[in-house]
């Protein structure tokens, strides 16, 4: 039964960042790749994103941010997931992420950390790998 389940991804934006194009591009990239992808819309809180991820039973949260604040945002999401006992949900990130921030994020357990213009296939492969590793 597990085999037939489509990969479920929540594309999320937190705070007042208005740059939405990356998130939308990702949303359709995931859908085109046969995944169930949901988008939170802008102006979300970390708690609301964690709740939506649990309620929608997603495998992966894909955070998008173009303010340079990803470490702050991602650590809040991880905490919200811990509070909901949902640490099995993978968190990945993309947007404007400096090499230093990418290092910090990787150490936190946030993967991907892709910049703008990353080939969509690469991101899709990354999601598949994350989910496969977890179910293996």
């Amino acid at each position: 039964m597990h085999e037939s389940r489509k990969i479920r991804v929540l594309v999320a934006k937190i705070g007042c960042d208005i740059h939405e194009r990356g998130a939308l591009t990702l949303l359709y990239t995931f859908r085109d790749a046969g995944m169930e992808a949901i988008y939170t819309g802008r102006y979300q809180t970390p708690e609301a994103v964690a709740n939506a991820a649990v309620d929608e039973d997603v495998d992966v949260i894909a955070l998008s941010d173009h303010t340079g604040s990803m470490p702050i945002i991602a650590s809040a999401v991880l905490e919200a997931l811990r509070n909901r006992n949902a640490t099995d949900i993978h968190v990945m990130a993309g947007g404007l992420i400096s090499p230093e921030d990418a290092k910090v994020l990787n150490e936190m357990g946030v993967s991907g950390n892709y910049g703008p213009g990353t080939p969509p296939d690469l991101i899709v492969e990354h999601v598949k790998r994350l989910v496969k590793k977890a179910t293996a």
Partner: protein
């Protein structure tokens, strides 16, 4: 040894498209036959002559160069102030103001929603004293300022800050120059600005315009924006069509308030300089021609000024790439050149490091220097509309005009631009074109150098690395904590009585349908913050104080509302 022979492919890097960026199919050349419907007298005219296709002035750039502009907006007022002064020393002539992202949404830094984006993309300009610091030592009279924010609450508030600053310094507010974007369609369509719903946006937009026309005649309080819809996915036709539709609608609203197009004067559009070189130039020429015709034929303009469209530019940030950022110098240079060939009035060029972070100082000086090189070494601006008469460009300009007219008819048939916004039709259009472009890129029908083509091999070299290293970084948690403390302290140390009185006046004016601008100017002098002004306007419309419905209104606001009702 096994030396391999290098394979040479004659077709390597060959063209993959026959259409412009906005899907206008092209022939391989154009002739007088393609332009036989175009009349020099009625469709082009000399530069400075109706319909201004070839530019607004006969002397064009010999008389006045385009304004060189940047949005300067770093995390702190001090950094921003220092940067303004540096760029002015390098030839910047037009100062674009912005704020951090929470401010643009209509909330203060002590709002719980602000934390994750605080001081990102700009200063948290929550009250008058922050503006004082940010603009310290900069002249306020006869300097061009532009307000480039997203939410409609921001334009009336920051305009009020500029007026209040001038009044506090004893200056004549009639000498305030510049413009506000103040475009209620763009605010919702692109940003989903949470500060006000659309019907309040439209009223506040008009209040700002009306007050400005009567009190600060050199300020252009409205500059429909095509840049952001275009960056959000609209093509050139819908970008220009959207600006024309919203400008026409707002001008008709103004006529109802007793302000004719001749009272209003010249229109300003904020348009996008995109990657497609000729399409961009044609778009600027078509924009001037179309606005002149609409102003005269539809809005009854009689003065020359009222038929003129000034074009302010932001070059496409979206076209700039994170991969091999050095290549962005070529993109920016071509976009700047298209603006000058298109006869624009003010130009804000994106920075080569913009896909990495906020623009660095050196990258911006490069932008200014590029404009100086185009002027003084390449001699491009010596002659107005130097491409006028090109079969291809004239055909493309007319073709764009026809397509835009078709789009305008469709918008009209659907009940007008605001109805198209509210019904979601505009959003669907933007989304559909965005997706079409995304899929073309995925299929290799649209090549972006370094991204989906010509990636090159191996590690990034030192020049590209260096561009990556200098980009400006976001503020730390410590700085954000300090900001929240600062705001809380500021709010406690105001004259509560004066503040309450002034906010009451905003509440009443909003409710009674009077213009809210003067009450806001008075309120900011008592320390009213953006979040409070926005909240009080919302309350007088009977909607919750907080756009995000996360916080309660402060007790003194609750009290003042009770006293008013």
């Amino acid at each position: 040894m096994g030396e391999k022979t290098v394979l040479l492919d004659r077709k390597f890097g060959h063209m993959v498209r026959t259409a412009t960026q906005s899907h206008i199919e092209l022939k391989s050349y154009y002739t007088p036959e393609d332009c036989k419907e175009i009349s020099y007298e009625t469709d082009l005219g000399d530069p400075g002559e109706y319909p201004f296709t070839r530019g607004l002035y006969p002397e064009m750039y010999r008389d006045r160069l385009w304004l060189k502009s940047f949005i300067v907006s770093y995390s702190t007022p001090e950094d921003t102030n220092a940067a303004f002064k540096q760029y002015i020393a390098h030839g910047m002539t037009d100062l674009r103001l912005l704020a951090d992202l929470p401010t643009q949404s209509g909330i203060d830094p002590d709002h719980p929603f602000a934390w994750n984006s605080m001081m990102c993309g700009g200063v948290a300009t929550y009250a008058l004293h922050v503006y004082e610091k940010m603009l310290e030592g900069l002249p306020l009279e006869n300097v061009v300022y532009e307000l480039a924010h997203s939410g409609i609450s921001n334009f009336i508030y920051f305009y009020s800050l500029l007026v209040a600053l001038m009044e506090n310094r004893g200056l004549d507010i009639a000498q305030l120059r510049g413009n506000s974007i103040n475009d209620p369609v763009r605010a919702k369509l692109v940003y989903g600005s949470p500060d006000f719903p659309t019907h309040i946006d439209r009223r506040i937009c008009l209040d700002h315009i009306e007050y400005s026309v009567r009190n600060t005649p050199k300020w252009r309080p409205f500059a429909p924006n095509g840049v952001d819809p275009c960056q959000g996915g609209m093509d050139a036709v819908r970008e220009l069509g959207g600006c024309l539709a919203v400008a026409t609608t707002i001008c008709l609203d103004l006529i109802e308030r007793g302000i004719s197009i001749d009272d209003y004067g010249a229109m300003v559009f904020s348009l996008d300089a995109e990657s497609d070189f000729f399409e961009t130039i044609a778009k600027f020429r078509a924009a001037r021609r179309m606005w002149a015709r609409i102003a005269r034929e539809k809005l009854g303009a009689r003065t020359r000024n009222a038929m003129q469209l000034k074009i302010g530019i932001r070059t496409s940030g979206l076209s700039l790439q994170n991969q091999k950022p050095l290549n962005n110098t070529a993109r920016v240079t071509l976009q700047i050149l298209s603006c000058i060939l298109g006869g624009v009035n003010s130009l804000d060029a994106s920075s080569i490091d913009e896909a990495i972070g906020l623009p660095s100082y050196e990258a911006r000086v490069f932008n200014l220097d590029t404009q100086h090189i185009i002027t003084h070494e390449a001699n491009v601006p010596l002659v107005a509309d130097p491409l006028g008469g090109s079969y291809y460009l004239e055909w493309l300009t007319s073709r764009l005009e026809n397509e835009v007219n078709r789009y305008l008819d469709e918008v009209e048939a659907r009940g007008g631009i605001f109805e198209c916004l509210e019904s979601g039709w505009l959003k669907d259009l933007m989304e559909a074109n965005r997706l079409r472009v995304q899929r073309e890129r995925a299929k290799g029908k649209r090549l972006i150098v370094g991204v989906n083509a010509f990636q090159g091999e191996g590690e990034e070299g030192r020049i590209n690395q260096a561009i990556r290293d200098v980009a400006y970084k976001a503020p730390s948690v410590v700085l954000r904590e300090q900001k929240v403390r600062e705001v809380k302290e500021f709010k406690q140390n105001r004259n509560q009585e004066a503040l309450k009185r002034s906010l009451k006046e905003i509440y009443r004016a909003t409710k009674e349908g009077r213009n809210v601008t003067r009450p806001i100017i008075e309120a900011v002098k008592t320390g009213a913050t953006l979040g409070e002004v926005t909240g009080v306007i919302r309350l007088s419309y009977g909607i919750p104080y907080d756009p995000f419905e996360q916080i309660d209104m402060p007790p003194f606001v609750r009290q003042l509302v009770r006293e008013c009702d």
